[in-house]
């Protein structure tokens, strides 16, 4: 099954490579990985989405922990958490589709971030499921390009 893993790492040159290379060297699935600085500039947070049976996931967590540059590894999958992904999607635009695109964008609480004669770029934020659905729904209009941030996630609550 899908697992969402949050990893605090040293904010150092090469850390992302160490983590990504460990996944490929051990044949673990890596669906998405995102990384950014935290409130402490020496620490970054990585959010990793992976898939596997429990035994594999347990190895993934242990192997992540074993890397010297990882500080804390948390499997958020079964804990209360908020998970979000950002989608930037550029669509073909014409007089006939314009209205529909705006309406659909509203359904997904999207934002128009760029518009030209023949193209429109929308920004949508939500769970990866919502992003998948949005992509499916917009596909008939003609997707010119899209970029996904990969999931980022954080604990919910005071814990």
């Amino acid at each position: 099954m899908k697992h969402l893993i949050s990893v605090l790492v040293e904010n150092k040159f090469g850390t992302l490579n160490r983590v990504a290379a460990m996944f490929s060297a051990r044949g673990f699935n890596l669906e998405s990985i995102s990384i950014g600085e935290t409130e402490d500039p020496e620490v970054s947070r990585m959010t990793i989405v992976t898939r596997g049976e429990d035994r594999i996931i347990s190895q993934v967590l242990k192997q992540l922990n074993r890397l010297v540059d990882t500080i804390k590894v948390t499997d958020l999958t079964h804990q209360p958490h908020v998970e979000r992904e950002l989608l930037l999607m550029s669509l073909k635009l014409s007089k006939t589709t314009q209205h529909e695109i705006f309406e659909l964008s509203n359904v997904f609480k999207g934002k128009v971030v760029d518009i030209k004669q023949k193209s429109i770029t929308i920004e949508i934020v939500g769970s990866p499921d919502k992003i998948n659905t949005a992509i499916d729904m917009f596909r008939p209009f003609g997707i010119r390009e899209l970029a996904r941030s990969g999931a980022v996630a954080i604990h919910r609550g005071d814990a």
Binding site: G14, K62, L67
Partner: protein, 573 residues
């Protein structure tokens, strides 16, 4: 020794740090990006630099030294090809968990990434084969990085660490500061075993009717042999060892079953297959040990103690994991053992019956020489007290079977990676660390050729090593598999036509050499070699060519089904 606070350049700092890490030997080879270091080295007297003849040799020497002494091995090589030549040795140390610190020169930091002359991204290349590695970008980071490197290499599960040092960093100056304490927030290995897990383990052991201790190299690196002996004897638990675990338990103790796995003893594999409790200590359920996972020790509850949590449940699902140091584990268990336990006489009797049913055996003929005889003779003449270094192949497996290892750190062998060419340089490294026991290489003709240049190093330093060449003019282990499993297509394993005369080769290097092709001559050659201490000596044992190592578990087979002999290869027991 310079004092902290003094202004030094990177090269001087480098040696100051090594002094504080109590480094005795550096195995190295100079080059462009290390010129400053070698300039400083010229006036360094307390740390000895051993000039190798190939950087791979340096890594194996460092590893031989580390395995023989327990102290980290140190390598110093230049950038680019110097660095890439260390890759095999680093991978070997990583697989066998040997503490080692490899220092590589690097092109000036301003040129990194420009495809400069002798540039290689060695940090990138060695990332998956080191415990950790560093690129030092500022001379002020050099001392703390070196401290961290030694700490990481020797703490928890040992392993190789690489430090890449650009040329300009080695020339730049700063005030030298040294801090003994290390705090790496992402590296906190668990030493102390969890008390509840330990007491559960003790109860399981007391209740077991047919227990087996399966121990690996972790027992040796933790210095846990004494505790192991005590537990095994008090509890009457038979012990089997992995290749790296040989010597962790005395091979001449009646409870020793020798090695298990692919070329293990029949009785060890039978015991593991029939035990009701398998206590794994500092071993990692490698595929050469388990054979087919689905049929491995199926009747047993399994306890697994390892310092590295990733080893637990990696290959085999265990019932009771205990993460922590092997010595702590065994000593805590001893303290926790209930007063009464099951009687194990019947179980030990069963194992003895297996031992008598299929002992390790061979025949001696007066006019031809068998490897088994040579190794048993070496074992007999050294009383099992030599440091034996092997290469990889048939001779290595025969060594594991026929040499009676009686103490820890007496076998040095490439187990995980299986690196041919390891034997000679690892022997040289071991000989720099060990002076009170004979240091012996047992190698094949294929492997010796892979790092034969290091004979110069041995001759130059007059190291009294014994190079026992098991010469069958074949890549014997590959030949064995070709005969058994590959339709007898002996592709590129026959070296008879192309091999040199090894006696002449050794003599050209300035090394004494003799040959022997029958048991009587072999015994005498071993006696003479052990008595010769003015430098290295090579004995070219001309053994019979097509001998095979038995018993054997075919790859992927169950360890309960061993091939026992070649004459009837279909014999499964």
């Amino acid at each position: 020794m310079h004092q902290p606070g003094q202004k030094l350049n990177g090269s001087e700092i480098f040696f100051e740090c090594l002094r504080r890490e109590h480094v005795e030997y550096i195995f190295g080879y100079p080059g462009g990006s290390l010129l400053k270091v070698y300039e400083t080295l010229h006036d360094v007297e307390d740390i000895k630099h051993i000039l190798v003849r190939h950087e791979q040799g340096a890594t194996h020497m460092a590893e031989g030294y580390a395995r023989a002494t327990g102290k980290p091995g140190v390598v110093l090589v230049t950038s680019g090809p110097g660095a890439t030549n260390t890759v095999t040795g680093i991978a070997n140390a990583y697989m066998d968990s040997t503490p080692m610190v490899v220092f590589t020169g690097q092109v000036p930091s301003t040129l990194i990434g420009n495809d400069a002359f002798q540039e290689a991204d060695i940090v990138g290349i060695t990332r998956p084969i080191t415990k950790h590695n560093f690129l030092v970008k500022d001379v002020r980071d050099l001392a703390p990085t070196i401290r961290k490197a030694f700490y990481l290499a020797t703490t928890g599960r040992p392993g190789p660490v690489l430090v890449d040092m650009p040329k300009d960093v080695l020339a730049a100056e700063c005030a030298f500061e040294w801090q003994e304490g290390v705090d790496i927030r992402g590296f906190k290995p668990t030493f102390k075993c969890h008390a509840n897990q330990v007491s559960r383990a003790a109860k399981m052991i007391a209740k077991a009717k047919r227990p087996v201790l399966y121990v690996g190299g972790g027992v040796i690196s933790a210095g846990a042999s004494e505790a192991l002996l005590k537990l095994a004897v008090e509890q009457q638990i038979p012990v089997t060892m992995t290749l790296q675990g040989l010597g962790a338990f005395p091979g001449d103790n009646p409870l020793s079953m020798g090695m298990l796995g692919m070329h293990g003893t029949y009785w060890a594999n039978q015991a593991v297959s029939h035990c009701d409790l398998l206590i794994a200590v500092g071993a990692r359920f490698d595929d050469r040990v388990t054979g087919k996972i689905e049929t491995f020790a199926t009747q047993a509850l399994k306890i697994h103690n390892d310092i590295d949590p990733t080893n637990v449940d990696k290959n085999v699902k265990v019932d009771l994991p205990v993460v922590g140091d092997a010595k702590d584990f065994l000593e805590s268990i001893l303290a926790e053992m209930p007063k009464s336990r099951e009687d194990r006489a019947e179980w030990l009797g069963e194992i003895d019956a297996w031992r008598r049913q299929c002992p390790l055996d061979y025949t001696v003929e007066a006019d031809s020489l068998k490897t088994e005889f040579v190794i048993e003779e070496v074992s007999r003449q050294t009383n099992g007290h030599a440091v034996i270094v092997t290469d990889v192949g048939q001779h290595q497996m025969w060594t594991s079977q026929y040499y009676k290892f009686t103490e820890p750190r007496s076998i040095i062998t490439s187990g995980g990676l299986g690196t041919m060419g390891y034997g000679l340089p690892a022997t040289i490294g071991a000989a720099f660390g060990i002076h009170d026991r004979p240091v012996v290489t047992i190698c094949g003709d294929g492997g010796l050729m892979m790092n034969i240049q290091e004979l110069v190093t041995a001759v130059h330093h007059k190291l009294p090593i014994k190079i026992f060449l098991i010469n069958n003019q074949y890549l014997g282990m590959v030949r064995q598999w070709q005969e058994l499993f590959h339709k007898e297509k002996y592709s590129f394993t026959d070296l008879e036509e192309s091999n040199p005369d090894f006696v002449k080769v050794a003599e050209a290097f300035g090394c004494r050499a003799v040959s022997a092709d029958n048991p009587e001559a072999a015994s005498k050659a071993i006696t003479d070699a052990l008595a010769y201490n003015d430098g290295p000596i090579l004995v070219d044992f001309r053994v019979i060519r097509k001998d095979m190592v038995f018993p054997m578990v075919p790859a992927g087979g169950s360890i309960s089904d061993m091939l026992l002999a070649r004459l009837n290869p279909k014999t499964m027991v």
